[in-house]
């Protein structure tokens, strides 16, 4: 069997492909080392201004996984306490939150959160 000489084009594309594959494996290894053994660490905070429309109040929030491992079914709760002492609850579930990932969402209240005390918290997650 004769071995045809490779063209410059073939050499170039092979070189690029080797670089891509090496980059891919390198990133996987890096992620392995970086996230190894770190459990999920979840934090939630308001993310932007409160918006009101149609008699409802929309409160954007961001939940972030500052740990390494992925959290599944992350439950985020919000409690709004008015000056008069009445309470309103809202909750959200985020499907997946990988290590380092940030997701945003919006809570909806009937009373104005700016007139009361708003408390956000993560109430739990599943280990996938």
């Amino acid at each position: 069997m004769n071995a045809p000489k490779r063209t410059l084009a073939e050499q170039v594309s092979f070189g690029l492909c080797v670089a891509i594959l090496a980059g891919l494996v390198g990133l996987v290894l890096y992620d392995w080392v970086a996230s190894d053994g770190k459990a999920a660490v979840l934090a939630v905070a308001p993310a932007g201004a409160v918006r009101s429309a149609g008699g409802q109040f929309y409160v954007p929030f961001a939940v972030e996984n500052r740990g390494g491992q992925t959290a599944e079914a992350v439950r985020v709760e919000a409690e709004l306490r008015s000056a008069q002492g009445s309470r309103e609850f809202a909750e959200q579930e985020i499907d997946f939150l990988a290590g380092g990932e940030k997701e945003t969402g919006v809570f909806v209240f009937e009373r104005d959160p700016r007139q009361g005390q708003l408390r956000l918290r993560v109430s739990g997650y599943k280990v996938p």
Partner: protein
């Protein structure tokens, strides 16, 4: 062989490989379980997936491959396998970004999981490119010239039929699932425009660029929509109509739904439907 023809052949080989990847990889791309698996799978499993894919693709490259030259030496198959994985990974990454499953907010580990797992069928498609739709350039399947100039209307109808069959074949599998509404929820008008562009480019690539079967015959055909550009646009419209019909058929869309919903859902399902339609036309 001149330098220029070397580059052209290389480009054709790569386009052919990428088209094989799209044909094989698109159905799994519209499977949300794979996105989720990508979100929580660990790096060790990703490396195992890459090694296994390499092994399978190496075996495929010994017999099929995506290059027009049929080298089956071990060294060639090894090089082609590296290229197939790189090509499959890039195609998978591009599609995941296009469908907004990978955004700048996506964590590295999650993006890697999605790209590697979605990349497996893409990579196999690259390696199967010649086997899926064998090239005719070196097989001498010359057609009867009279056959090429058959009644323009007949040719157009045949193309229309096979586009529709190919589009139904793919869209039928995806339309009843929840992926389309989920993708639609995460997309926006600029991304829908990019999806239209990608659908047209991939469809054009499969039928007119990748040097698959019957391509030379197609270029000689005289049907009403046989110019490459008009055929690509026409078959895209047919595929969109099929996609909309499938969504309605499975009750994913109703006539009283807002037109924006029809538009986004149809364009999103139109991408795989168009790829199916392009594959269908190659069978003619």
């Amino acid at each position: 062989m001149g330098q220029l023809s070397g580059w052209k052949r290389e480009r054709d080989d790569i386009v052919r490989g990428a088209c094989g990847g799209f044909l094989f990889g698109i159905p799994l791309l519209y499977t949300m379980e794979v996105w989720w698996i990508g979100a929580w799978i660990g790096p060790p499993r990703l490396l195992v997936a890459l090694v296994l894919t390499f092994g399978v693709v190496f075996l495929l490259n010994r017999t099929a491959g995506f290059r027009s030259t049929r080298d089956v030496r071990v060294e060639d198959a090894l090089r082609d396998s590296v290229e197939a994985i790189a090509l499959g990974t890039i195609c998978s990454l591009l599609m995941l970004v296009l469908l907004r499953e990978i955004t700048p907010q996506t964590a590295l580990g999650e993006a890697l999981g999605k790209v590697v797992f979605e990349g497996v069928p893409f990579t196999m498609g690259v390696a199967l490119a010649n086997l899926l739709l064998r090239t005719d350039s070196d097989e001498g399947t010359s057609q009867d010239p009279d056959q090429d100039n058959q009644d323009a209307l007949n040719v157009t109808l045949a193309d229309l039929g096979f586009t529709a069959i190919g589009a139904v074949f793919i869209a039928f599998n995806i339309a009843p699932t929840d992926e389309i509404p989920m993708l639609a929820a995460a997309t926006s008008p600029p991304w829908l425009l990019l999806i239209v562009l990608a659908s047209l480019l991939i469809s054009y690539g499969i039928v007119f660029e990748a040097d698959f079967a019957d391509q030379k015959k197609r270029a000689r055909q005289q049907g009403l929509f046989q110019q490459p550009l008009s055929e690509t646009v026409f078959s895209y419209l047919v595929s969109l109509a099929i996609a909309a019909a499938m969504l309605w058929f499975f009750d994913r869309l109703a006539f009283d739904d807002p037109w924006q919903l029809w538009l986004s859902h149809t364009l999103l399902l139109g991408l795989p439907a168009t790829i199916g339609g392009a594959a269908g036309r190659l069978v003619v």
